[in-house]
Subunit: 476 residues, 2 copies
């Protein structure tokens, strides 16, 4: 790596003055995302490119001087993907925030990476279209970050994750070359699926500077159901009945007892505090079809012995019912600093996963509230603790890992939608094994031979298993 | 490359006697797929592995001796992907044809690559499930071939292509190592999306030996519509109205006048021989919803000035109406040997594409019938000619390329679902450009450093643009 002065001088000469910032106080503000346990370093500068050409310039200079580059969206990540690297450039994409096109005749949008997810949703909706991926942070996270981590959300049970909507991307490669890959057509199989290789690669293979995204017709206003159960097994049975019964709700969310009580404490919603689990389901199919779908879910709930089943086609009441789910995380924050885990298990194993998480909570003596996208098996056990208490921290960290262990043992994955970042490097190695790691390293080496793109994220074959990251608490 | 004797001896020692065949007559039968213009070489042997371990053995021996390996399914391909390479091993996957699992509680199946598409569809249907990808050759093509080319079919307008159903794959890498990648969960973002990198790579990166595939609930019996138009523009308007109107039919197919007449000649279906285009649409949404969807398509047809609109919820009559579309290729074969092209264009450009294809037909003086998946813009202009007539061959070949040129000029791709094989190498280079080619070569080099996996397929950076393949006519 050359001296910082030398590459900073080149960057300043090549870019507008305001695009390059090395004031340590400002830089510090761009050095972490929302992941609690993920370590972070001290970048030397934050660069704010205005267009693809400027990104290319940055990467040429970075390559010439072998300076690491960490792409960054809004910083809403939950795995440390965009956490700073010592001496590196953090490349903030937030100024590249144009929605370049919404094309109703081909149901697609072309956007820059700094566009906020909600801005795209709103622009689509204005043309009776729908961009489904809806991470909880949709009102502030960026599409670039969504692409980087292949983000999901509540929509996935029916509509899939971010990569299911990616038709093409423009990527600036590590050496500054600009690759356009993918297509504007619905189908296209010319060559390798490079677009989907870059999506989910967390900035380790290049910088996405534009994306062509498929849109869907705007769905009907939802019909909503809420149900409570006196055992997690009963809630699990409902999920299984939904899957085997051929139902595809547009949303199927779950909260465990800890969450139910936390939400009720915060919002006095008159929830059943003795319930072991609560499910919220929606159908956006419209008309008779939506009524049928929700009636079928209601029937599955009753057959599983639900203690309460209520449904409504009133959109406002539906939004209120869903509100309980949406405030789960803020409600859990009242108990302690929330450490959000992210595991996906086969849908038939949800009840078992909940029971084993409850056991972890007892054994480790930490509060764990589980919210989850039950319809697709993606669970977010959230450990609530006081990170200033070293003993609690130790137990919370142990519980975090216990949960991943259980997820893998049930045939699941250590991340359903948050990504690996630098938070789960050892777990990625566990999940994909040595051959998987070797293939990752080979592809990384092929596209980024100098290793400047977001080093130390996603995988680090050299990292010994069981490395314990330094404590780092993030304010919200 | 070692002498053939040496590696053949090793293969015979390592595998059961019947698994290794070098009888030139038998080998010749495995040296081509269904692609007319694609060149093919003479493999030295065909190997029929029975399991993943045997595939691994073959690739270890092939690597040690630097013998090329060409993976092959049923040979139904339309781009020469599995065409033989001189001196190579053709690896026929047809003995690995077990459906290992159909799991209704997680809506997935685990299959070996030699499973015929229809066998998986039937096994899914037996459990009220549905595997959507349905290439025209579904009753004989294999899932391995479908994965290799990322095959599509009639279902794509609503359900997507093969890769949209791939949750995970097992792959034997060029050196014989076995990689398992992907997951059994609906969501999973642990590491790079390697599964989708192998899907569509046409056997150039490894051999897929197992796949975990998502299934969908079995849809309702379809409601079917047929409509004719006195201009291609009118039919194009309907497609645009369907897309902008928020409709998602489960099938939306198109035939041009040449096809209509060919089908009518063959089957006496009393079609309107003066119609410029015919559309067939289906909705499998069931009940009131299906009726509404088809009524909306009917209304779009009427507003576009259709000369006939007819719809039915009788499944048998619907199948008869769709029959006209299904026999289009055999009907065109009566005019001449069919050379099937494969282009996808943005859905808003279909009418323009049809008109320009008609112009190519006039200028090149060859019959071109167009059938297409109108709902997703994937068109199959089919040139009917006498390949023994050198002049006709020349004109057919020119028309084939003109069509690809038009496809690209309309913002499309040179292959929507058949793949590149060795048929469109120069066009792949045109479409993805030098940076795209460089990235392809880098990834190929990372995963197959000796270059033994299906060499000369998908891309060949060294191939001069405009290479004219030797004539090769395939019997059916």
């Amino acid at each position: 790596m050359s001296s910082t002065d030398s590459w900073l001088r080149e960057l300043r000469a090549a870019l507008p003055a305001h695009a390059v910032v090395d004031d340590p106080d400002v830089v510090a503000g761009y050095s972490r995302d929302m992941a609690m346990l993920a370590p972070s370093g001290r970048p030397s500068a934050v660069v704010f490119p205005a267009d693809t050409a400027e990104v290319s310039v940055v990467l040429r200079i970075a390559s010439a001087h072998r300076v690491p580059v960490v792409p960054r969206g809004a910083g809403s990540g939950l795995a440390g993907s965009s956490n700073g690297v010592d001496g590196a450039i953090t490349l903030s994409m937030i100024r590249m925030n144009a929605i370049l096109e919404v094309d109703p005749a081909n149901r697609l949008a072309v956007v820059q990476p700094g566009v906020v997810n909600k801005a795209l949703r709103d622009a689509a909706e204005a043309q009776s279209l729908y961009y489904p991926p809806d991470p909880s942070s949709f009102d502030w996270c960026t599409i670039g970050g969504n692409l980087s981590t292949n983000a999901g959300g509540l929509c996935c049970v029916k509509y899939g994750v971010t990569s299911d909507f990616v038709m093409g991307v423009e990527v600036v490669l590590a050496d500054g070359e600009i690759l356009r890959t993918g297509h504007r057509t619905v189908k296209g199989v010319a060559g390798y699926d490079l677009a989907r290789l870059f999506v989910g690669s967390e900035g380790t293979l290049g910088v996405i500077t534009e994306a062509t995204l498929a849109l869907r017709p705007k769905p009907a206003a939802p019909v909503t159901l809420v149900a409570t159960f006196d055992s997690t097994a009963a809630a699990g049975k409902v999920v299984e009945a939904v899957v085997t019964g051929g139902l595809v709700p547009s949303l199927l969310e779950l909260m465990d007892q800890t969450c139910i009580r936390a939400v009720d404490d915060m919002a006095n919603m008159d929830l059943d505090r003795d319930a072991a689990a609560l499910l919220v389901a929606q159908s956006d199919s419209g008309g008779e079809r939506a009524t049928q779908e929700i009636a079928a879910v209601a029937s599955a709930c009753e057959q599983a012995g639900a203690t309460l089943v209520h449904h409504t086609d009133d959109a406002q009441e539906g939004a209120m019912l869903l509100h309980a789910r949406r405030i789960a995380l803020p409600a859990l924050e009242r108990i302690g600093t929330p450490l959000v885990d992210d595991v996906a298990v086969p849908r038939s194993r949800i009840s078992e996963f909940l029971d084993r998480t409850a056991e972890i909570s007892r054994v480790r003596d930490v509060v764990i509230g589980v919210v989850g996208h039950a319809g697709d098996g993606n669970m977010h056990p959230t450990i609530c603790f006081d990170p200033k208490d070293a003993d609690q921290y130790e137990r919370a960290f142990a519980a975090f890992n216990d949960i991943l262990e259980v997820g893998l043992s049930l045939g699941g994955t250590v991340t359903g939608e948050h990504g690996i970042g630098n938070l789960k490097l050892d777990w990625l190695a566990r999940e994909i094994g040595p051959i998987g790691l070797r293939v990752h390293a080979a592809i990384k080496g092929a596209l980024d031979p100098l290793g400047i793109m977001n080093p130390g994220k996603v995988f680090a074959p050299q990292l010994p298993v069981g490395v314990r990251p330094e404590l780092a608490v993030v304010g919200r």
